[in-house]
Symmetry: C2
Subunit: 339 residues, 2 copies
Amino acid sequence: MTVVAVDAMGGDNAPYEIVKGAVDAINSSKDLSVKLVGIKSSVEEELAKFTYDKDRITVVEATEVIETSEHPVKAISRKKDSSLVVALRLVRDKEADAFVSAGNSGAILAGGLGIVGRIKGVERPAFGAIFPTRKGATLLVDSGANVDVRSSHIVQFAKMGTVYMKHVVGIENPTVGIVNIGAEEEKGNALVKECFPLLKECSEINFTGSVEARDIPEGNTDIIVCDGFVGNVILKLYEGLAKTLIDIIKEGLMSTFVSKIGAALALPALKGTIKTFDATKYGGAPVLGLKGLVVKCHGSAKSVEIKNALDQCMAFVAADINGKIEQNLILEKNEEKES
Amino acid sequence: MTVVAVDAMGGDNAPYEIVKGAVDAINSSKDLSVKLVGIKSSVEEELAKFTYDKDRITVVEATEVIETSEHPVKAISRKKDSSLVVALRLVRDKEADAFVSAGNSGAILAGGLGIVGRIKGVERPAFGAIFPTRKGATLLVDSGANVDVRSSHIVQFAKMGTVYMKHVVGIENPTVGIVNIGAEEEKGNALVKECFPLLKECSEINFTGSVEARDIPEGNTDIIVCDGFVGNVILKLYEGLAKTLIDIIKEGLMSTFVSKIGAALALPALKGTIKTFDATKYGGAPVLGLKGLVVKCHGSAKSVEIKNALDQCMAFVAADINGKIEQNLILEKNEEKES
C-alpha cells in the first residue's frame, strides 16, 4: 500500500479538482491510500460529492494555506500549519510515502529541502519534468528548481534523471543530452562547455552529446539536462506554444462553413493526435534528490493530472528511486575517498 | 536604390534558392539592386534560369566558400576570398548598403564584427530575430550572438530592439520585457535580477517587466530580451515545436478515410491559420549594432525567406536604423560624461 499526502489546498483549482483527482486515483487502484491535507470543512464538503472506499482516504487538518504569490521560504517558516508544511511533515515522519501538490513551486522546493531533506551526496535537488514528444516522452532536469548552477550539479541531474527514467519509466540505458545551441562540443556558454567533458567521462550515464532546442520535440533523447532557468523556459514555452498552436488550429477549423464540416469529420482522428502532446498525462514533476518523494503538479492542474501524479507516486515508491539515487551517489563518494 | 550584397554560396540550399530569392526580390521592387557574391560559374548557371532586369543583378566573384561546420573566426581569417568575406567587404567599403546570408551564423557575426565593425558605443552586437505570435510578431534580442553576457549588454539589446521595432516594423513606443521564470521582480537568475532595475530605470525604452516563456506565443510584448543562449533555445524550440505539431496534425488529418475527407474540406481555412505561424515571412535576423546592415537567414532558407530578407533590408536602410542606434547610444555616452 502506497500512502500519499496530498495538498488539498494548493493550485488554482483547489480543493475541488484535487479532491476529485484523489478519489479517481483511489477508485482506479487498490494499492493506494491518500491523506488529504487542508482545511477540514472545505475538503470534506468536496469529498461528500463522491463515492469511494472511505478506508483509503483520510482528511488531515491544516488551518493555513500558502498562496502562489507568497515568498517561498518566508511562507514555509511562517505558516507552520499550512497544508503544504503539514503534508511534508507526514513524509518526513514516514506517515506518508509521498507528497503531491499543485501549489507554490518555490514553497514545495523550500519545504522539501527544509522538512524532508536532501539525500546524502546530492548537492542540489532538481525538478524533473516529463513532457510529451513525437517519439514518447523526455525527462527535463532541472525544469526550474535551481536557476544558477555549477557543472557538478548538472552531472548529478544527469545521474538522478537516469535512475528515474530507468526505474520509473522503464527505459533500459536511457540517453542523456545537454541543452545546447549547436551540435558541436565547442559550442555553448561557459557552463555547457564546462559540463561537456564531465558528462562524457561519467560512466553511470549514457551521454550522447548536445541537444539543440529545435530537436527537443522529436524526442530522440530520453533525458535532457540544463540549468533550472533554461529548463523552466523550455518547459513553459513548450506548454504555451503547444496550447497556442492547438487553439489557432481549432479556430482555423471553425473559420468557414465548409471547414466546420471538415472539422466535424476530422476531429475524432485529430483528437488522438493532439492527445499525444498532452502534458497532463505524465502527472507532475518529482523533486529528484530529496529523502522522500515530493511531486509538483501544474498550478492549473485538474483532477486528471492529480490522478496521474498519484499513479506516478506508486511507480516511484515501488521502484525505490530515492534509495537508488542515494546508492548511486554514495558509491561515488566512496570512489572519491578511495582515489 | 538599396544595394544588397548577397552570399550566394551560404546555406543548405545555395546557390539555387539564394539566386531565386534575389531574382524574386528584384522582380517585385524597382528600388533594389543585388550583388550576388560567389563562385561566378555556379551563380551564373542558376541566374540563366530566370528572367529579370539585368542592370540590377551583378555577380561578384569569390572563389572560396565557408561551410556551416567551420570554426567561425578561423574561417573568416583563412578564407579571405570566401563569398561571406568578400560580401562583407562590399558593405564596409560602402559598395553595398546591406549583406544577406544563410551561411554559418558564427562566421557572419565574426565577419560582421571584424570587417564591418561595431557602432561606437555598442558593447555587443546581437541577433534580433522576429518570430510570429498570435498577435503578430515579437523581436527577440539576443537570439544567439552572445552566449555569456553582462546586464549592461541586455540593456543595450533593449535599446537597439526598440529602435528596430519603432522604425522598421513601425510600432510606436514598443514594449520591452525580459525573459523570466516568473512574473515577480524577485524571480529569476542572477543576471535577470541584475538587469531588472537597470531596465526599469532606462528612460529610452518602454519596459513592462518579466515575460514568462509560456506567454511568449501570445505576443503581448513587442521586444523580449535575454542572453543569447536562452534566446537561441527559445527561437529554435519555437521553430522546432511549431513544425512538429503541424506535422502531427497533418498526420492526424490523414490517418483515417473519414478524416481525409474532413481534411480536404478544412485545409484551405487551416492553411491561412498555419501561415500566421510561418517564421520565414519575417526574412532574417539582423545583427543589431554593426556599422552596416548584416542579415542572417536560416541555414535552411528557401527563396521566399531570401526575398523577404531583401525586402527587410530596404526598410532597414530607408529607416537608417544604424544611424538611429548610433545616435541613441552616443547620446547616452554624453550623458555619462556630463554626470
